[in-house]
């Protein structure tokens, strides 16, 4: 089977990876083109032990690592607060491991083949990527929750992620007062509050003042499905799995465009 038949189905995905990795489609396509030309000229070969898709990414990575990764003007490469800029602030080796597994869906073993490293190194790079992402996303958090035990659980979880809890508000008026004293980069909100006030109203008040990602954590998700749900919001149902909340926090912060930094 020829190169075209083997590789054509995988080109859209290697272009996606190249775009995410380099931060730019034209740049990314440039490296893909060089990789394909190297294959065509016989200067690079698809390792027969690898599947065509893994082999294509492997050749791409050899080209990019020998040129692109070296040329990257870090840490000035990206100053924006959008997701693409955040990606560029992850160091190249851990960015590769992160994107190959989380974006491209490769297993750690396949990722090891692509990067030409062993399995343990891939695990180390994934852990390193998480450390970098956590540091990138660290911010101040406002918790709106009237049950002290649950508030303490959420606080512990938030602190584990490296965030700072600015305040815990038990009512709508406390929540509004809290953002006046310290501006959060993330709000975690219950819906039914102590004095009968509504977390939805509290969040609406907050969003009229500041642009902040909000995650609702509630035993009454149906109250958010009535069409009066303020945007942008995420929804987690109680009782919650800590990992689910952590994953939602990371997602909300990574993709929020104008987030306040903890050190701002």
């Amino acid at each position: 089977m020829g190169l075209l038949a083997r590789l054509a189905p995988h080109l859209p995905y290697v272009r996606r990876y190249a775009r995410a990795l380099t931060g730019d489609q034209v740049t990314g396509d440039g490296y893909v083109r060089v990789a394909l030309e190297a294959l065509a000229a016989g200067e690079a070969v698809l390792p027969p032990a690898m599947t065509p898709r893994v082999a294509l990414y492997h050749v791409f990575q050899l080209i990019w690592r020998s040129t692109g990764a070296q040329l990257e003007p870090r840490p000035l490469a990206a100053v924006g607060d959008d997701a693409a800029s955040r990606l560029m602030r992850i160091a190249p080796p851990s960015r590769q491991a992160f994107l190959l597994t989380a974006l491209e869906g490769f297993t750690p073993s396949e990722t090891a083949q692509i990067l030409g490293v062993d399995f343990e190194e891939v695990e180390r790079l994934i852990a390193q990527a998480q450390t970098e992402i956590d540091a990138e996303l660290a911010t101040g958090v406002l918790i709106i929750e009237d049950e002290p035990v649950i508030a303490a659980d959420i606080e512990a979880l938030v602190c584990e992620l490296g965030h700072e809890v600015l305040d815990i508000a038990a009512t709508r008026s406390e929540a509004v007062a809290a953002i006046a004293s310290a501006r959060p980069g993330l709000v975690l909100a219950d819906i039914q509050l102590a004095d009968g006030s509504s977390g939805i109203d509290a969040v609406r008040d907050i969003l009229s003042e500041i642009d902040v990602p909000v995650i609702f954590i509630t035993a009454f998700p149906e109250r958010l499905l009535t069409g009066e749900r303020p945007e942008p919001t995420f929804l987690i149902t109680k009782p919650f799995q800590p990992e689910t909340v952590k994953a939602a926090i990371g997602q909300a912060l990574f993709f929020h465009p104008a987030r306040e930094r903890a050190d701002a």
Partner: protein
Amino acid sequence: MERRDAKGMIEQRPVDPPNRTTPPALDEARLRQQAIGQKLRQMFDEVVNEPVPRDFLEILRRADEGADKVPEGE
């Protein structure tokens, strides 16, 4: 936003290796990274769905034709 990749079947789920236990912290890191990866896939959906640059296919086609001619001493 819920659109899937046109060639979604090529997407893979990480499942290996079966005979190995990963540390819990690493499992959690991967779970959190999957959550970001899922949104990244939505973000880059259009890249996957747009046509591949024509010259990419040309490079491979020429290479295949050249390989066919090699035995004839081209």
